[in-house]
């Protein structure tokens, strides 16, 4: 269970980041544009996101594949414009970010805070993982949206890693069964393998798909079953990408 101090900390971060959303969003968007990144069919992606999520309120779990350090920024940019996040605060997603990456310097630390990042200690003790899951459950219980990378790290095989993924996403789904699950597949057209930053000028393919993972198992077996289904969806989306991506250029 989270302490009242931790819950308060998340509430304050939510309020501060929401108050400064336009500043944060346009700063990050400016950086993405400076790098000349582009989302293929961005308008269509945003319309699709709005249609898929619609006016439904309540927790939203966004599950995406993971290849670069800026995936969460690109996905947030692809899903909604800044003004929409201003009027629909819950669409401004929380991210589980590697603590090591978002505490490199004061600037990144501030951006991480304002960008609704929850620092995660990778390869930490089980208690740390438990606390992260508790934070996610708390945020979802407040009707927030949380972006999670079910693979648990940037895929070392350059494709959705259907062999070495973590089961944490399964636990999140079990603990918040009311959460809607949206799978997002995003990949730079020139992306060959995992890395830190995509090449300047990269164009990104983004696809969305609602899914409803279910399991008859409980506990760890349920976690594995649900995580396997979600990663399976992402892998299918990737398969479609490799079959059809050329049509989107």
């Amino acid at each position: 269970m989270l302490s009242s101090k931790e819950r308060l900390g998340l509430r304050v971060q939510e309020a501060v980041s929401q108050a400064l959303i336009l500043l944060t969003y346009f700063s990050l968007e400016g950086w993405l544009r400076f790098r000349r990144y582009r989302i293929s069919a961005r308008r269509r992606t945003r319309a699709e996101f709005a249609a898929l999520v619609g006016d439904e309120r309540g927790p939203l779990l966004i599950c995406a594949n993971h290849l670069t350090l800026v995936d969460s920024l690109l996905i947030q940019w692809a899903l909604a414009p800044g003004w929409r996040l201003f009027v629909r605060p819950a669409w401004f997603t929380w991210n589980l970010a590697d603590k090591h990456n978002i505490t490199k310097n004061v600037f990144v630390r501030i951006l991480g805070y304002l960008g609704k990042c929850v620092p995660v200690l990778r390869k930490g003790p089980p208690e740390e993982a438990r606390r992260t899951l508790d934070k996610v459950a708390f945020l979802l219980s407040r009707g927030q949206s949380v972006l999670v990378f079910p693979e648990g790290r940037r895929s070392r095989v350059g494709r959705v890693d259907t062999e070495n993924f973590t089961y944490g996403i399964g636990r999140i789904v079990q603990e918040t069964p009311s959460a809607r699950v949206l799978c997002v597949f995003a990949r730079g057209l020139g992306q060959r393998e995992y890395g830190n930053y995509p090449h300047p000028g990269e164009t990104f393919f983004v696809r969305l798909k609602r899914c409803a993972p279910t399991t008859s198992f409980r506990g760890m077996r349920g976690d594995r079953d649900l995580a396997t289904q979600i990663v399976g969806h992402l892998s299918e989306m990737e398969q479609e990408y490799f079959e059809n991506a050329i049509l989107d250029r």
Binding site: N164, M220, D223
Partner: protein
């Protein structure tokens, strides 16, 4: 079930997940599953579920979290397979 039998079965279950085969060859009760054997922490869940299947037991999260070494795994399994008095 005695300690040696449990240890042998556990080692057999863990073997496919081990990356450090040198440490595995000289594994003892004190060998740490993740740090010494190089088992991916995410795969620890698969190992625990394999224990459940092999020994016909149920392992809750708290017990699973306490398994750090091969000796911890042996103790947990002996405890859970011990006949109730």
């Amino acid at each position: 079930m005695d300690t040696t039998t449990a240890f042998g079965k556990i080692v057999g279950i863990i073997k496919p997940f081990v990356k450090n085969t040198t440490a595995f060859g000289t594994a003892t009760d004190g060998t740490r599953i993740i740090e010494d054997l190089g088992v991916n922490s995410a795969r620890l869940v698969d190992i625990i579920l394999a224990f459940e299947d092999e020994f016909g037991i149920e392992v809750d999260d708290e017990s699973a979290d306490r398994v750090r070494t091969l000796g911890d795994a042996v103790q947990m399994i002996l405890q859970k397979t011990a006949p109730a008095h």
